[in-house]
């Protein structure tokens, strides 16, 4: 579990609020020298992020997510927020023609992406695939029913959702420019003072070289959000074939020939995140997919 505390530091005309959530380092930058305001904002934002984390973290036995999963086979009552998130996930499932599926998480039981050549056999994959498929899930505004042995997780949307939620809260709290960065998923309330952009460095997820990391691209963000999908350090190698960690929910096998990471700019972080993930799921056609969406993006191969 992450420790629930935040630290505030000042740099020039801005304050930075740092904390840990969703297994990632998080940072909020407020362009204000008003320490009282920053303290209040830190409280509001951290409370919201930790609330979402506590509600949808599948590793937390007390979370709504765990409650749904442990009661697979039975109908579980859900609140409005959970319904809206699940409904959004359903639309992503449909829009991606079943490639993006929040019930595909159990495939990770047979796939461990540890850079080894540890490829599971087809029989094991097939067995797990029986527990995958959004179509088998029954969702309505009041409840959700998973089939036995099924599991869902909010990994692909939870963090981005938290970014958008906190941006909303930040806008309600202050007029000052705010940037929210939850482990690389970023959104801003607007441009910095005097209509200058936020300079966001995107890290190249460098491959094969231990912890080699480098910020190698700067994006100027006036408004909206950006999200990155892909993690080049999680893969398997077998017979010269590289298997990235993005799994095709329909076949149970990793998507091949996908970019190592994709960064997308969109008005909402959750849109940016889903577009980036969907692009990865297109494999070698990722760039083509994003070009057709007419969004600003960067794909690294």
């Amino acid at each position: 579990m992450t420790t629930k505390k935040f630290t505030i530091s000042q740099c020039k005309d801005s304050h930075s609020i740092s904390f840990n959530a969703m297994a990632s380092p998080c940072e909020v930058i407020v362009q204000s020298t008003d320490a009282k305001l920053v303290g209040a904002l830190a409280q509001v934002i951290c409370t919201e992020v930790w609330r979402i984390e506590g509600k949808y973290n599948r590793y937390d036995p007390k979370s709504v997510c765990s409650m749904i999963n442990t009661n697979a086979g039975q109908t579980v009552a859900i609140d409005e927020e959970t319904y809206l998130l699940l409904d959004f996930a359903e639309q992503c499932y449909q829009l991606s023609d079943g490639l993006f599926d929040i019930s595909s998480g159990c495939l990770r039981k047979v796939w461990s992406f540890d850079a080894s050549d540890n490829i599971p056999n087809q029989a094991d994959v097939k067995k797990q695939l029986k527990s995958v498929g959004w179509r088998k899930i029954n969702l309505n505004r009041q409840s959700i029913t998973l089939q036995k042995n099924m599991e869902i997780d909010f990994g692909g949307i939870g963090k981005e959702y938290a970014v958008d939620r906190t941006i909303r809260l930040a806008k309600q709290t202050t007029q000052k420019p705010v940037l929210v960065n939850l482990g690389g998923d970023i959104a801003v309330t607007g441009s910095r003072h005097n209509n200058t952009p936020w300079q966001v460095a995107i890290e190249r997820p460098d491959v094969d070289i231990g912890d080699e990391k480098s910020a190698d691209m700067i994006v100027s963000l006036y408004s909206g959000a950006l999200a990155t999908s892909g993690d080049s350090r999680r893969y398997l190698l077998n017979g010269g074939q590289r298997y990235g960690h993005v799994l095709n929910a329909k076949t149970g096998w990793p998507i091949t020939h996908a970019p190592r990471s994709v960064t997308v700019v969109a008005p909402q972080c959750i849109q940016a995140g889903i577009l980036a993930t969907m692009a990865l799921l297109q494999g070698h056609q990722a760039e083509q997919f994003l070009s057709a969406q007419d969004v600003k993006f960067w794909a690294r191969r």
Binding site: D13, T33, S96, S220, Q293
Partner: protein, 436 residues
């Protein structure tokens, strides 16, 4: 794989879906800066030495960054130089007459005044292009071209630089190479070294023939080859260090055709003025160390350069700047930057403020140019900058420069002891820079 949903609709559908999820109208648009637009910087600089040279300089710099992180930089500089410059001769208790470098006419220096050639008037146009491209993940290559033209001078140059990052870009090793090819064709030609300046009436019929006899050729060439090795290291998040070593080899015509040396008798009275003579090669080496330290808000930048060459010139330069952010009081991100620079150099082995007539025979190299003599100089200045209109940076710089040449161990003789041979030079530098 085939998608049953036409790809194009996904973004629109997601917009609706995320609006439903977040309860927003979703009218905001994500905007990023157009990375393919040009960034322009312009600057106007004014430099004025008391009673001597004045220079005005206009610079426009255009930079374009491409999607693939390639950068093209174009810089156009136009400067004009007017005024007078010391011709190398010593002051005398009497009026002195000198011939203009072109051979067309004379100029007169009053008693006790430092002889200044007032014919300096030139306009220079300079174009620099630089293309920077990441080669591989940690390799950046930069190549450039240089063209500079003034009335009597043409300089052509190429350069390249390779930077290699390692240790998560905390360290950068760079190596650079540049080559310049300069052609110098002064009006009146290149004078013969150590030959007497012809003084007389330039309207007499024999003048042109006699003047031509003091001339070597119409033009001369100089080449410069520079090699640089640099190492930059991030010490910690507040401090960065840089170390450079450079080796520079200059070959060809290195004398200044406008400079002369006074030949004096034992009483210090000028008997003759002869054209200077410098070796046809010079090897310069330098070590440079720079450190930038970021305090809570201020940034301190200190550098030291040690330069030595095979003409026996050794110089030390200490340069320091302190950037003090003023917050948004005088415009966004406004700052003040005090600047202090100290420079000290020893004289070239063939530098003489003047030469006694008995010592002229057998001499090979000789120059009285104060710029290669012993001297000390300092600059103090202040720069103010701010962002206006949201994103355009405007800055003003005002500096005072003072150069104090010293005798370099050469004692004055006779009447020279009562004259000011090493006048202090003062200059004011003003600069306005605007980025858009």
């Amino acid at each position: 794989m085939k998608s049953s949903t036409p790809n194009k609709n996904i973004k629109a559908a997601l917009t609706v879906a995320s609006a439903a999820l977040l309860g927003t109208s979703n009218t905001t648009q994500a905007q990023t800066a157009e990375e393919d637009s040009w960034q322009f910087d312009s600057a106007f600089l004014f430099y004025s030495e008391a009673d001597r040279v004045s220079a005005g300089e206009a610079i426009i710099n255009a930079q374009k960054m491409f999607d693939d992180e390639e950068i093209l930089n174009l810089k156009l500089t136009v400067d004009t130089l007017t005024g007078s410059s010391a011709n190398g001769a010593v002051a005398q208790p009497n009026v002195q007459t000198f011939t203009r470098p072109s051979g067309n006419g004379q100029y007169i220096t009053n008693e006790a005044d430092t002889p200044l050639d007032d014919t300096f008037k030139d306009t220079r146009v300079q174009l620099n292009t630089q293309w920077t491209k990441p080669l591989a993940s940690n390799y950046t290559l930069s190549v450039g071209g240089h063209l500079s033209k003034e009335y009597d001078y043409l300089s052509l140059g190429v350069n390249s630089n390779l930077a290699i990052d390692f240790d998560r870009k905390n360290s950068t090793f760079s190596t650079g190479f540049s080559y310049f090819y300069d052609t110098f064709a002064p009006e009146g030609g290149i004078p013969k070294p150590l030959v007497s300046m012809l003084i007389g009436d330039s309207d007499t019929p024999s003048w042109d023939v006699n003047f031509a006899q003091t001339r070597l050729t119409n033009d001369e060439i100089k080449t410069t080859t520079d090699i640089l090795f640099g190492f930059t290291q991030v010490i910690h998040r507040r401090m960065i260090m840089q170390l450079n070593y450079s080796y520079s080899m200059v070959e060809g015509y290195l004398s200044d055709p406008f400079k002369i040396v006074s030949v004096v008798n034992s009483s210090g009275l000028t008997q003759d003025n002869i054209y200077e003579s410098r070796p046809d090669s010079r090897v310069k080496q330098s070590l440079y160390a720079q450190s930038m330290y970021h305090f809570e808000s201020n940034v301190l930048d200190i550098s030291y350069r040690y330069m030595w060459d095979d003409w026996d010139i050794i110089s030390h330069t200490i340069d320091s700047r302190l950037r003090i952010p003023l917050g948004d009081i005088w415009g966004k991100d406004s700052f003040l930057q005090p600047h202090f620079r100290f420079y000290q150099q020893s004289a070239a082995e063939f530098y003489r403020p003047f030469i006694q007539e008995d010592n002229v025979n057998g001499i090979e190299y000789l120059s009285a140019d104060y710029r290669i003599g012993e001297m000390m100089a300092y600059t103090v200045g202040l720069k103010f900058g701010a962002v206006i209109n949201g994103k355009n940076e405007l800055s003003f710089r005002l500096e005072y420069y003072r150069q104090t040449p010293t005798d370099g161990g050469y004692e004055s003789i006779g009447v020279l002891s009562d004259l000011e041979l090493y006048p202090t030079i003062e200059a004011i530098i003003g600069q306005v820079t605007y980025s858009f």
